[in-house]
């Protein structure tokens, strides 16, 4: 795992990546199909297949434990990969380390990317860039809030 500065507390790292969404307003049959599909995606065989053929992590704890028991992480070529899980589960997740779920997240991420590029290319100080990214991100969130007024996120 990456070292942390002295005097700072280590938290679990943030999870990221693609996500699947089931939208509202569909028929009962479609929801049954969606549920079956999600079951299939989360089934142990499927979850274990992904880390075996790619470098990705298993997405359920059950699959991870099973892979540990069957010796996946001591096989040559796969050893050391459990570090990712250790890092992700280092502390129990709190509100700020649960992974990001925001309205217009893609826009916010692209603002962050651009501001970081500005910092890396020396156009702004890192602090300035991060402050600007926060300000831009908040603007986007306010817009999202207004667009979705009166709606409850599930």
């Amino acid at each position: 795992m990456l070292p942390v500065y002295e005097g700072f507390q280590r938290h679990n790292s943030l999870v990221g990546g693609a996500s699947l969404w089931v939208m509202q307003g569909k028929s009962r049959g479609e929801y049954q199909a969606a549920a079956a599909f999600l079951d299939y995606v989360a089934s142990r065989a499927e979850v274990e297949w992904m880390p075996t053929v790619t470098g990705y992590i298993p997405i359920t704890n059950a699959a991870f434990r099973h892979m540990q028991e069957t010796g996946f992480y001591s096989r040559p070529g796969f050893a050391g990969r459990e570090t990712a899980i250790t890092s992700l589960t280092f502390t129990p997740p709190n509100e700020n380390t649960r992974g990001i779920r925001l309205g217009n997240f893609t826009s916010i991420r692209s603002e962050l990317t651009s501001e970081m590029q500005a910092a890396y290319t020396g156009q702004k100080s890192v602090q300035q860039a991060l402050d600007d990214a926060v300000a831009r991100g908040n603007q986007i969130l306010r817009r999202f809030e207004q667009t979705m007024r009166g709606r409850q996120l599930p």
Binding site: T106, S107, S110, S114, Q117, R143
Partner: protein
Amino acid sequence: MSGKRVTFKNFWLAILLILPQLFLVFTFFYWPAGEALYWAFTLEPPFGGEQQWVGWQNFETVFADPLYWNSVKRSLLFAFSSTALAMGIGLLLASFVDRQLAGYKVYRFIYFWPYAVAAPAVGLAFRFIFAPDAGFVSAINVWFPGLWNPALDGFDAMVLIVLANAWSMVAYNFIFFLAGLQSIPRSLVEAGAMDGAGAVRRMRDLQLPLIAPTFFFLIVINITDSFVNSFGIVDITTGGGPARATDLMVFKIYSDGFKGKDYSLAAAQSLVLMLMVCALTFIQFRFVERRVHYS
């Protein structure tokens, strides 16, 4: 519009013949343009649902955003530099091909090739040619380490997309300048030569004024094209970066609308761009009329 002396009378057949075009134009041009207008005054939830009327708020947001003006500024810089470059080179090559020395047909033939290459293909080719760590231009980094890097330096990135766009536009300008120059009666140029005017003088005082209409027509076409065709080049080479140095207007509309799913903001920006393109096209129409008058 000058019409035919003799015509057919069958009204319904006439309507039937033009109906397919009208359907397409209505469905894919006027309706979307109208919808953009409506969206620009509402907040549109990305996955459907009630939109709310917000008046001018979207435009206020757009115009108050320094990053929008950044994108306008970059677009204008991009449009004017690549237009100047493409037209300058196009005119230079056309005027020398027009001298019709031995082999000029070969040049005329080959100069036109780049026109066939799709904008994203130009982008990919130029991305390789101008890559900082491989390709053709990277050699200068061997002699002057770190001098060229479009991934880190906004200026380099702008140079890269301007050159790519200019390269792909030169052919079009060349063809039109050549056609313009060749429509000047040979005898006129010869008369100028007999009066002792040299080639440069003839170009400046005789040929250039005569192809002025072509010149203005091309300015408008080039600028419009660089507004609308820039997407393919930017998307493949720089993705708007680094730090928004190449965040051109069409690319920003695409990323705000389709990546960020803020259709209202994208619609407001589309409308501004639409007005700009309309203004340019309008100038061109005015001018095309005069051009017909000239010839």
